[in-house]
């Protein structure tokens, strides 16, 4: 299958993972079996890692606290920052870990049910790690947009129902 079509399949699934191979085939003007096979291959090779759902937990009524934690780490010979990053990302409450340029080395995104829970995680798990020199925690106060999803508003169609 052409690279351009493969990209189109990925983009479609990235927008809506529930789009069926038949729908994708119709939209791209290709064969459904081919789409199915391409998706299977891309799943097998790890290009498609998995399928997730975007959930607005606030609307569900469940509070979740997020924090960005900048971590200063002294690098080690051979491994740089990798081993520390690994020790951090293995905690399930850690959403993301990045090595970043600037004042700090790692940026960690952590979630918890309460601020206290996150504070405890930083004090008991993160800060005491070998080679972690300092942590700098910022709690998220409001989420406007995440992973391309805008949470503040729901789109309304302002167009007239029938126009020439």
């Amino acid at each position: 299958m052409e690279l351009e079509t493969q990209r189109a399949i990925l983009e479609t699934l990235e927008q809506d993972a529930r789009t069926s191979p038949e729908q994708i085939a119709d939209m791209l003007g290709v064969d459904a079996d081919q789409v199915r096979e391409t998706i299977r291959q891309m799943e097998a090779s790890g290009i498609i890692r998995r399928y997730k759902t975007v959930i607005d937990w606030d609307r569900f009524g469940e509070e979740r606290v997020f924090a960005f934690i900048d971590v200063k780490v002294s690098p080690a010979r051979e491994v740089g920052f990798d081993d520390v990053a690994e020790r951090i990302y293995r905690f399930p409450q850690v959403h993301a870990v990045y090595l970043v340029s600037g004042d700090h080395d790692l940026r960690v995104i952590v979630s918890g049910r309460t601020m206290k829970e996150i504070a405890a995680f930083v004090a008991e798990r993160l800060a005491p790690l070998d080679r972690v020199q300092a942590t700098y925690t910022q709690f998220v106060l409001k989420r406007y947009k995440e992973d391309g999803e805008v949470y503040a508003e729901t789109d309304t169609d302002r167009r007239l129902v029938v126009t020439p």
């Binding site: 189109a8 479609t12 729908q23 119709d26 939209m27 167009r159 129902v161 029938v162 126009t163 020439p164």
Partner: protein
């Protein structure tokens, strides 16, 4: 009271109105009847307009439009179609193509002059010709050859009073893209009979699996063509009301005269937004075009499966399937579909009598809505045929 204007009374009221009124009062109605993009204007364009307003761009502009915008339009048309229009006197920024069409007619026509156009056609064409004192002369096109214009039929429709030939490709309502060869022949015919060409190319950027042919760029066309273009469809900017007309200087001067005394100029903030669109809007145009293309393929395939035959259209965001299998007229189909399944479409006959037996569906609607609408239509068609 004395009677109102005869010229205005002579124009029949809009055929869409009745369905609009029904659709507007129905809850849970899915509309495939909308003739504008479902995208909002890309943010960078809106943001540029906000900035312009903050900076105090709140005045009139030159009657022709901002010179900087005309320059951008000129270089855009040169890059895309190889056209050479002078921003000084061959480009006029209009309040949408709608205004461009109106003043083109008023600049060209003497009372009784005939304007040939193809049906099914955009609903404004006959009224605009009539308001300018002209006589609209429809030439029907046929579903069986994909609504392609027929040159011989045009030849037969030409009389000594014929002044202009009005073209609209990609077409509203059929989505047809006229082939380059046919357009070429139409230009030759116009040269042969010394006709003006008015080419409404508002959908030029929305073509699929083909290239747009700009009429003005065909050999011999530029000197007799009024090219009408705009931002509404390509950049999802319908509400901004910005279009442009390009033509030889003497024609633009005449159009400008009408524009100057009636419209004065297009709104400045919208002109600034249009500049931004031309400057940096290309990726968004392509993004939206690709999305329309996906919906187009899906809707065409599903309609044919349901039994509403349609030739895959190559432009705009409309499909114009035949509803003959239901045995209903366009208006019956539309009204019953509205009441029974709450799906709004536009009956084909409002676009001229050759549109009878068809309905217009717009795929400028989100995919889930299109799918739900098609599901409902399938139920409806099955019932009609059963």
């Amino acid at each position: 009271m004395k009677p109102l204007s005869q010229a205005v009374r002579a124009v029949p009221p809009s055929g869409i109105r009745r369905f609009f009124d029904i659709a507007a009062q129905l809850e849970d109605c899915i509309s495939l009847g909308v003739g504008e993009p479902d995208f909002v204007t890309p943010w960078h364009i809106r943001e540029a307009a906000i900035w312009a307003i903050e900076k105090g761009f709140t005045t009139y502009t030159s009657n022709y439009g901002l010179f900087s915008l005309r320059q951008r339009i000129a270089s855009h048309l040169k890059a895309r179609y190889g056209l050479e229009y002078a921003p000084e006197n061959e480009i006029l920024v209009t309040v949408g193509v709608s205004e461009g069409l109106d003043i083109a007619m008023r600049a060209l026509l003497n009372p009784g002059d005939e304007v040939i156009f193809f049906e099914p056609s955009y609903v404004s064409y006959p009224p605009c010709v009539m308001f300018a004192g002209g006589v609209p002369v429809p030439v029907p096109t046929d579903y069986r050859n994909g609504f392609q214009p027929d040159v011989e039929q045009v030849r037969r429709a030409i009389t000594p009073r014929t002044k202009a030939l009005l073209l609209c490709y990609p077409n509203n309502p059929t989505g047809t893209v006229a082939s380059r060869e046919v357009l070429h022949e139409l230009v030759r015919l116009a040269v042969e009979h010394d006709l003006y060409l008015i080419s409404d190319e508002i959908y030029d950027r929305l073509v699929y699996e083909t290239e747009h042919t700009c009429v003005a760029a065909l050999p011999g066309a530029a000197e007799r063509t009024i090219l009408l273009g705009g931002f509404s469809k390509s950049y999802a900017m319908t509400g901004w009301r910005i279009g442009y007309a390009c033509a030889p200087a003497p024609v633009i001067e005449m159009m400008m005269k009408v524009h100057q005394y009636t419209m004065l100029c297009a709104p400045i903030a919208a002109q600034k937004a249009a500049e931004e669109a031309l400057e940096r809007g290309e990726p968004e145009v392509e993004r939206m075009r690709r999305e329309y293309d996906r919906r187009r393929r899906l809707i065409v395939k599903r309609l044919n499966e349901i039994g509403l035959e349609c030739v895959p259209p190559q432009g705009a965001f409309y499909v114009f399937p035949s509803i003959r299998c239901t045995g209903l007229s366009s208006e019956e189909f539309t009204e019953r579909l509205l009441w029974e399944e709450r799906v709004a479409v536009v009956p084909g006959n409002v676009f001229g009598s050759s549109g009878e037996g068809h309905v217009r569906l717009s795929y400028a609607t989100s995919l889930p809505k299109i799918e739900e609408a098609l599901h409902r239509m399938e139920r409806f068609v099955t019932r009609c045929r059963g």
